[in-house]
Symmetry: C2
Subunit: 425 residues, 2 copies
Amino acid sequence: MSNAYREMWRDLGLDLERHDAFLAALPGAFSEVFLQQDNRPAGMAYFDNLLGEAHGRRVEEILAHKRAGRLVAGTFCVFVPEELILAVDGVSVGLCAGTQFTVPAGEQILPRNLCPLIKSLVGFKLERICPYFQVVDFLVGETTCDGKKKTWEILNDYVPTYVMELPQRKEAADLALWEGEIYRFKEEIERRSGQKIDSEKLNAAIKKANARRAALQRLYQARRADPVPISGKDALLISQLAFFDDPDRFTAQVNALCEELEDRIARGEGVTSKGAPRLLVTGTPMPLPYWKLHHLVEKSGAVIIGEETCTGSRYFAGMVPEDGETLSQQVKNLARRLLDINCACFTPNTSRMEDILRLAREGKADGVIYYSLQFCQTYALEARQVEKALREAGLPVLCLESDFSEKDAAQLQTRIEAFLEMITS
Amino acid sequence: MSNAYREMWRDLGLDLERHDAFLAALPGAFSEVFLQQDNRPAGMAYFDNLLGEAHGRRVEEILAHKRAGRLVAGTFCVFVPEELILAVDGVSVGLCAGTQFTVPAGEQILPRNLCPLIKSLVGFKLERICPYFQVVDFLVGETTCDGKKKTWEILNDYVPTYVMELPQRKEAADLALWEGEIYRFKEEIERRSGQKIDSEKLNAAIKKANARRAALQRLYQARRADPVPISGKDALLISQLAFFDDPDRFTAQVNALCEELEDRIARGEGVTSKGAPRLLVTGTPMPLPYWKLHHLVEKSGAVIIGEETCTGSRYFAGMVPEDGETLSQQVKNLARRLLDINCACFTPNTSRMEDILRLAREGKADGVIYYSLQFCQTYALEARQVEKALREAGLPVLCLESDFSEKDAAQLQTRIEAFLEMITS
């Protein structure tokens, strides 16, 4: 890929040398984690290729859209109502943030005691090795956690950053404030795109985003089968790529893959033998190119059947009602679906316990891994309640705290293997 | 003190052995930090005694109030509108939270990567060595930072904890939400106390709290003189005790002290020689019994002339207008004054830079110490902007991160001395 896109990367202001160094490590890691799996679904080829072209063809496409006058927004959270970006035919892209490679750069301007997700994100900008960071017209931040909330203030010195205020509870006053924030975001999108958003455009965008949600829900549904027709890491990769790809094309490809998976289920075919230990993962996001936990778990003979995370079910759960006829109804519908997401930033957040228990039950999980990125205070603090709820439900739980480095891989592996031994004995 | 109150402590459910161990270390520390100062104002005797009786007579007083049917609320943040507690003749007390002694206990149920303030607070409850924790009818928490927000959920298992939602920005919608929260809090206080709050009662409470603010502002005003008539640590102790004492008595004592200080100023008398290096401290709260930073700085020959912290100017800056005639006007006035506080939990929080620059100018500071408790993400992240603003204003700044232990004292001392050498050379 490298040579075909060098000129584009140079034009985008990437640091070609650092970018080369970053890309150099990926094929090996990808091959080890993904390509060496047995009996992968054929439909994964599209997603493998999408990842391979993440810094290439997909960037080229977005650049072409941008030249055609379409708005390009960078997002970093499932609470950003992408529908408003889609309503002006804009492009919404996630930002690179899942690697230790950029953490040291992030630490040059951020405290070390901050979650690796944020440090990696900022490092990508400082190192100039994320083409999406270079191509976006602006970033959309939110006030989900202290770390991100205050980092947007700093990032705004590097790229225009618009911040949505997510409330901290889910009462009527919070819904009202959040609806106001969606209106304010609508105005920002209108101002930046030069287009008015009417109820027709917004309805089309709602349908587009719903279709993607439906496809991802269908994929999750397929993972409930035993044997499971697709590995956890392949499902994770798909979720991660959802933030980058063209929504319609992505939806079609996920649905095509799901047909293959449903055929497998009908035939009783899977990527593991029937009865392999099944785990649900719950916790903090796993952005590209982070696959460590899934790889360790699945190397150990278990399979991950779901992720109650922002790069998992929190992203695509629920649907926005499509019968909103006025903008006001539609905004209310968007606001409500988003406030139904059970992020640990809310207080109280007891519905998350229900989500986890339901997902574990639906996925026939034998156990749960509570995964928290180091220094993520909301998820670390909520672990206590989740553990309690799981214990009461008789579900074994393993709490892990980690970061994006590989340094703790052996230690994690040992703990995972001990946990698997415990739940299968 | 110990013997006179043992029965009361036992009745309160304190762990007498641990409580003895905790109290045993205090007189020595207090003597070293406070009593060995030269030329202390005579008016400090009241506050020394208040501290000495913090677990004794003051608790006895509060217990008597409680037996007389008065509400006792535990608070932990300057955003809690104490006026509503005072309006029903209730008692508002701060909670113990400033010692390494209780941090290990806090870490039994909280993540280690959490600020020592919260871990110490929770540790006091788990160890049963804070009489205030035992005597309160309920706690009032708030959603200022992730750490506290999620800790209230856990603390609620140990003591009833009511949570106020502080918004994260300061726009019209936020003020509206916050006003709603103050009304909700008013209802909670009415429910718990069995008293209605009318505008007359609230006005009297506003005046009471304003009088305390005025006295503390007067104290801060006195600290602007050169030579400074009172040490920074004595001023800090007074601020810390403001959260515990009876408001009227406290106000009278602070005013009496201020008269003494103003006499000193008129005579050109101070606790340091004229021209001693003057520092402003800005950053995270310093609850009782935390005096480390002030002690290190003032041992090194400099004097602290102000604290832009929640145990400093953020607590008492601004006044609630006293001309509100209706409850609605009064609540609006309370809400506005509180939202004028520039806590790092807000985004943006640029007014804090203005506060710091103004306080440094008013106090004729030669330099600023930015002090952040470990793992406090909001203040750690905001340090960058504050540093920038101070550098642009030509004010030297030293950024320190610390905790409640004494382990880093020598290292901090070296850095403080180097900083003082730099600004005085």
